[in-house]
């Protein structure tokens, strides 16, 4: 049952991401990527990483995708971009991606990743365990990430302010 669910979620994820890169309209691409993100969140739940599943939905589906949709509506690109790349460049792109996929899969095909765990720690993905890890071993990176957010916020404000001054 869980194996079937895994393959179903993987198929949804792969198909929606393929549709995402091949769709002409950017709005539909964002919505297909949203489907892909929800199926990835389902895979997190199957891996018993509930906290990351919730954070994934909140951050990606809630914040990043809304930002993308807002920018697309803000730019008002109702008409899809008509000029396409040449067929040769598209073929080279698809060939590059598929050949990288082929190389990685064949390189990892015979790799032994070890036996599946004998003892599974049930609490590994819970918020309490991750909170202890995050505030003990990763306390300094956690604080630095707040500085990163502050600097990115300042950068965005400076971008838009400069633009207004030019006009």
């Amino acid at each position: 049952m869980t194996a079937i669910l895994f393959y179903l979620l993987s198929a949804i994820c792969i198909i929606s991401s393929i549709l995402m890169i091949f769709h002409k309209n950017a709005m539909y691409s964002v919505l297909f990527l949203l489907i892909c993100f929800f199926s990835v969140a389902g895979l997190y739940v199957m891996l018993n990483a509930q906290f990351l599943a919730i954070v994934h939905i909140i951050v990606y589906a809630g914040a990043i995708m809304v930002l993308f949709l807002y920018v697309i509506m803000f730019l008002n690109m109702s008409t899809p971009i008509t000029i396409r790349k040449s067929k040769l460049v598209m073929g080279i792109a698809v060939f590059t991606g598929s050949s990288l996929c082929f190389v990685l899969v064949t390189a990892l095909w015979a790799t032994n990743f070890g036996q599946n765990p004998a003892i599974v720690n049930q609490d590994i993905g819970l918020a309490s365990t991750l909170g202890k890890v995050l505030f003990n071993e990763f306390l300094i990176p956690f604080e630095v990430s707040s500085v990163l957010f502050l600097s990115s916020m300042v950068g965005i404000v400076i971008f838009n302010k400069k633009e207004q001054k030019d006009e």
């Binding site: 995402m20 990527l33 892909c36 990351l52 990430s145 990115s152």
Partner: protein, 112 residues
Amino acid sequence: MNDVTQLQDQLRLVPLEHYVFLCIVLFCIGLTGVLLRRNLINVFLSIELMLNSINLLAVAFSVYYNDPNAQAFVFFIMVVAAAEVAVGLAMLVMIYRNVQTVDINALNNLKW
């Protein structure tokens, strides 16, 4: 206790290799999208897809090897991705205001 055995059965049913292959396929789809599309928004979306495949791989390894540190790393990758998307979209809006397009082939002044 019943939950623990259930989770072990679940992990035995889906080997780690399948998660690795799923993540490889997703990463390569994202790479193809970056190379294929001319629209800057689609390029950003493909980069998000690549970051997601890496996150999924880290979570799979973390669960299969009983190590919560990888999930903390995934948390930081999400933080950096959020900051990157915010700055990137602000730059995209600025580029659109200046050159009236988001086509990456219009931005070829530094190409040669």
